[in-house]
């Protein structure tokens, strides 16, 4: 099934949505990623990823109240779903699990 696997950028956006909590919409996500990682994404790319995540059921969305700075247009606010949280936890766990299995030696050599 589509959605059992999330890509790197997807994971990043998903994390950001979690970070931003109730204020995660297109531009905010783009800004946050740039601030946190230094990666500058195009807004359309962010939209595409958010849409994909929603299709996979990892985030939910609803329209916010209209604001002035957007000429009265509403924002689409994204929030993590249970599945989204689980996906993040799984990814995190997998990463840690793998990281922990790395022999100390190889780490030392690297240093």
């Amino acid at each position: 099934m589509k959605g059992t696997y999330i890509g790197e950028l997807e994971e990043l956006v998903l994390l950001t949505v979690g970070v931003l909590y109730n204020d995660a919409y297109g531009v905010a996500v783009m800004d946050e990623i740039e601030k946190q990682t230094g990666r500058s994404l195009n807004i359309s790319a962010v939209h595409a990823v958010l849409k994909r995540l929603e299709e996979k059921g990892l985030v939910n969305s609803q329209m916010s109240d209209p604001t002035n700075e957007r000429g009265g247009r509403r924002k689409r606010i994204f929030t993590l779903t249970a599945a989204g949280r689980k996906a993040l936890a799984d990814a995190n766990e997998l990463r840690n699990q793998l990281y922990n299995q790395i022999p100390k030696v190889s780490l030392q050599f690297q240093a």
Partner: protein, 877 residues
């Protein structure tokens, strides 16, 4: 808040391509970024960023698409219409079934009949030169007596081709000795059959007709004497899987014919069917080395290939001169030649001596009107049921209007639904046709392929009909219902009957048509029975006919006859020229009082003819075996001839001279009898005694044996034994005269069968409609009936009240149908020489039948209306 706006065109482009569901957020984000960049002070940068972003958003997932959920509202509604249609369809299964099924039957009938008609019109059109091929007919009549012959004298083909070579490119003759069958056998005599479909024909046959030859050379196959071309199935019959080319077939037991070609079987839709073609040259042997040169005997069917179809009229204008030039003096003034296009022969040619019996255009007209009637009935049915059912949906319409439906949307909805229904019926109709085609083929004696339905005409019909019918049946409810004011539609129970008059008129039309069909069928069957069963004036029961033409019977006829008569069950034996009651020939006779000889129908006979067929003598005497000069000096005629000659009485006719030779006199007059089918009135007839042994070559074709009805099988056995004893090696074949004569009315028989079936179906369809309509009315008047009941109406009163209106309709239908049926039937009967009197009890019967069927149909609903518990109906108020 914004001091500056982003580039307008980019913004517009965005709103143009963007999926409306996504537009707001996307636009919001690009505007936000634009505002932010602007704040940093660079309007140009902001513009570029805006345009850039707009283009970056231009990706597949954001573009407006015609996915159903994203359609414009108008198109989106179709999904809703479909859902509503589906629910309605399944909620009222009964209605839907009646509606679709009734229409499907109607369309199926229509399709079957048009397939039949189309097949009839396809006759002889497969030849590439069909439009230039004509057959030439010889009408040989004086004072309306004589023959209308489809065939010509031998030399005509040659002469007409020479004299009019500017117009006539080719002439092809067919000849079969005028024999009902000819004997064909393999050279080792292992297989011998009497073949009815063998013709002698000119070598140019394949130039004129496009019949396909699969083995041998079409150009030369029939050029040489003693060549024969046979069809593939005949090749199979005589030679099995062996290649027949270069092999021999024995013809009439004495002539070997070389197989020079094999052709495809003749398609069923040609007016002449044949299995064997023998080269015309071969005939010379039978006529002392050269083809007959007489212009009197006319046994050759002659086809002309013209240069141009327009030459026909020019050629026809020259034919009288042609007749004067070639035909002998004594018939010159009685002969007219006519051309008939090849493609008209099957439906329009009804000459004497057709190669095989043809169809008639009248039958086509009858079928076409039945097809139209049935389809009309079915369509009316459909319209009736649809409109009735639509009236129940006033509430839905009210609701839709309240929610903002426009009138055009409502109209679209109703049209959509009725077109869906008709499409469904068409699908069913095609299924019915596919299933019943083999059955239909078997009783219509056709080989119609279902693939005919794939022709553009049917495709167009099958698509056009549902559209048109759906439109017509949808348009009425569409406009009436959409005009409802929502408040009226919603508030009342809206049980006022809309379009009731319209529906009543349709029901009347429908039943009128059905009653006309019923009466028509009745009259047709009456007429057929009259033709078949009435007294023909001679005994046809238990008469066995044995084809003897061109057999070696001449020398053994008398001994064979005597042997047969020794069996007590054999009553009388004679021999004659043609099948009595079916066919005759024509001869020229000069009776006392005529200036020159004239053509008269004639039968050559042997002694005991009158006794065999029980034909009474009304004046004078029968031929007698004791008077040896009877063969030449005496003649027996019928009453009609006496009348035609203007002699005052039958007695006066006795002793009248015939021929210019001395001492030849009429010796007997017999009572009139039908010597041809009853399609024609009785005409004058000469029964000419012909004892010449050579007569069996041409003038005497059948032996007729009347037997008693006891032990028929034993008698036939006995006859066969005697036959074999007298003529060893010659096949004994026979048929019963009575059975053969039934074939005369085969066309009528077939027609009445088809008419009966289709008029039955039309009644069925009409009843389906009536049933649906009565159900609907019952529903509508439920409340009224219940209140009446509460007020004290009895069950029978309610029942009567309910069914009364339908009976009024049926009554009106009868009033409309009777005169129409009468006029139509009079016209049809006008095509017959003998007409049955139109029986008015038939009209009453048809009316009663229609009323009874209608009664049974509405009975159920009437009964229900009368028997429901009023409380059940009224409690909902």
């Amino acid at each position: 808040m914004l001091k500056a706006t982003p580039p307008r065109w980019a913004d517009r482009f965005l709103s143009w391509y963007c999926n409306p569901e996504l537009l707001e957020e996307i636009q919001g984000d690009v505007y936000e970024i634009f505002a932010r960049t602007l704040k940093s002070g660079n309007k140009r940068m902001a513009d570029v960023a805006f345009v850039w972003n707009v283009f970056r958003f231009f990706r597949w997932s954001n573009i407006k698409r015609t996915k159903r959920s994203q359609q414009t509202p108008h198109l989106m509604m179709f999904q809703n219409y479909y859902t509503v249609f589906k629910r309605g369809f399944f909620r009222q299964k009964g209605y839907s079934f009646l509606n679709v099924f009734g229409l499907a039957i109607g369309i199926a009938c229509f399709l079957l009949i048009t397939l039949y008609i189309k097949d009839e019109f396809s006759f002889d059109r497969m030849h590439s030169k069909a439009d230039r091929i004509y057959r030439i007919h010889e009408i040989f009549e004086a004072d309306g007596v004589g023959e209308r012959s489809a065939s010509q004298p031998f030399p005509l083909a040659e002469a007409i081709k020479n004299d009019y070579n500017g117009q006539v490119v080719e002439a092809v003759r067919f000849f079969n000795f005028q024999a009902p069958t000819l004997a064909v056998a393999t050279t080792d005599n292992t297989k011998e059959f009497n073949e009815a479909r063998l013709f002698f024909t000119d070598s140019t046959f394949f130039n004129m007709f496009d019949f396909k030859i699969v083995k041998g050379d079409a150009k030369s196959a029939l050029s040489n004497t003693h060549s024969i071309v046979l069809t593939q199935s005949m090749s199979q019959k005589y030679f099995g899987d062996v290649d027949p080319m270069g092999k021999f077939l024995r013809f009439q037991g004495n002539t070997n014919l070389l197989v020079t070609g094999v052709m495809e079987d003749v398609p069923p839709n040609t007016h002449f069917q044949f299995d064997f073609l023998v080269s015309f040259q071969t005939l010379k042997e039978s006529y002392n080395g050269q083809l007959p040169e007489t212009w009197y005997w006319n046994p050759c069917w002659t086809y002309l290939l013209l240069k141009d179809p327009s030459d026909a009229a020019r050629l026809e204008a020259q034919l009288p001169a042609f007749v004067q030039k070639y035909f002998p003096d004594f018939i010159r003034n009685d002969v007219t030649l006519e051309l008939i296009p090849l493609t008209d022969i099957h439906l329009k040619s009804h000459m004497d001596y057709e190669i095989q019996p043809n169809s008639s255009i009248t039958t086509i007209y009858v079928f076409a009107s039945i097809a139209a009637f049935v389809l009309l009935i079915a369509c009316i049915n459909f319209i009736n049921l649809s409109t009735a059912r639509a009236a129940k949906r006033a509430k839905e319409v009210g609701m839709r209007k309240t929610l903002g439906s426009e009138r055009t949307q409502l109209v679209t909805q109703f049209l959509f639904e009725s077109i869906m229904l008709t499409l469904l019926s068409v699908v069913f109709a095609v299924a019915i046709v596919l299933l019943t085609l083999p059955l239909f083929n078997s009783f219509a004696e056709k080989q119609i392929e279902w693939t005919n339905l794939l022709e553009p005409f049917y495709i167009l019909l099958l698509l056009g009909l549902p559209l048109a019918l759906g439109f017509v049946s949808g348009i009425y409810p569409a406009f009436v219902l959409s005009s409802f004011r929502p408040i009226t539609a919603l508030k009342s129970n809206a049980s006022q009957e809309r379009g009731a008059t319209f529906r009543k008129v349709l029901v009347v039309v429908q039943f009128s048509l059905s009653i006309i069909l019923l009466i028509g069928t009745g009259v047709a069957i009456d007429q057929l029975n009259m033709l078949q069963e009435s007294d023909t004036g001679f005994t046809k029961e238990n008469v066995i006919m044995i084809p003897v033409s061109r057999s070696p019977i001449a020398n053994v006829y008398e001994p064979l006859r005597n042997e047969l008569l020794r069996n007590p069950n054999v009553i009388e034996v004679t021999a004659l020229e043609e099948i009595l009651g079916s066919k005759h020939q024509v001869g020229n006779y000069n009776f006392e009082g005529l200036e020159e000889s004239k053509p008269f129908p004639r039968l050559n006979i042997r002694h005991h003819f009158l006794k065999t067929f029980n034909i009474p003598v009304v004046a004078g005497r029968d031929y007698s075996e004791d008077i040896v000069t009877d063969d030449t000096l005496a003649l027996v005629v019928n009453e009609s001839l006496v009348k035609q000659m203007g002699w005052k009485s039958n007695e006066e006719a006795i002793g009248k001279k015939f021929s210019t030779r001395p001492n030849r006199k009429i010796v007997g007059v017999v009572k009139d009898f039908n010597f041809t089918s009853r399609h024609q009135p009785i005409r004058p007839l000469v029964m000419d005694l012909n004892l010449n042994p050579r007569a069996f070559d041409l003038f005497i074709k059948y032996m007729a044996v009347r037997i008693s009805k006891d032990d028929v099988a034993g008698t036939i056995d006995y006859m066969q034994k005697q036959w074999k004893a007298q003529m060893p090696g010659w096949p004994f074949e026979y048929f019963f005269l009575e059975n053969n004569l039934e074939n005369l009315y085969k066309a009528e028989n077939k027609m009445s069968k088809i008419t009966l079936i289709f008029s039955g179906l039309s009644i069925l369809v009409a009843c389906l409609g009536l049933f649906g309509l009565s159900t609907f009315t019952a529903e509508q008047r439920k409340k009224e009936m219940s209140i009446r009941k509460v007020m004290g109406s009895s069950d029978s009163e309610i029942f009567l009240l309910f069914s009364k209106r339908f009976f009024v309709l049926i009554l009106i239908a009868n009033v409309v149908a009777f005169p129409l049926a009468y006029i139509m039937m009079k016209q049809w009967l006008g095509t017959f020489a003998y007409q049955v009197d139109i029986d008015f009890t038939l009209f009453i019967l048809a009316a009663l039948a229609a009323a009874l069927i209608a009664f049974l149909t509405i009975c159920y609903q009437g009964f229900r209306a009368a028997h429901t518990n009023p409380a059940e109906v009224l409690k909902n108020e």
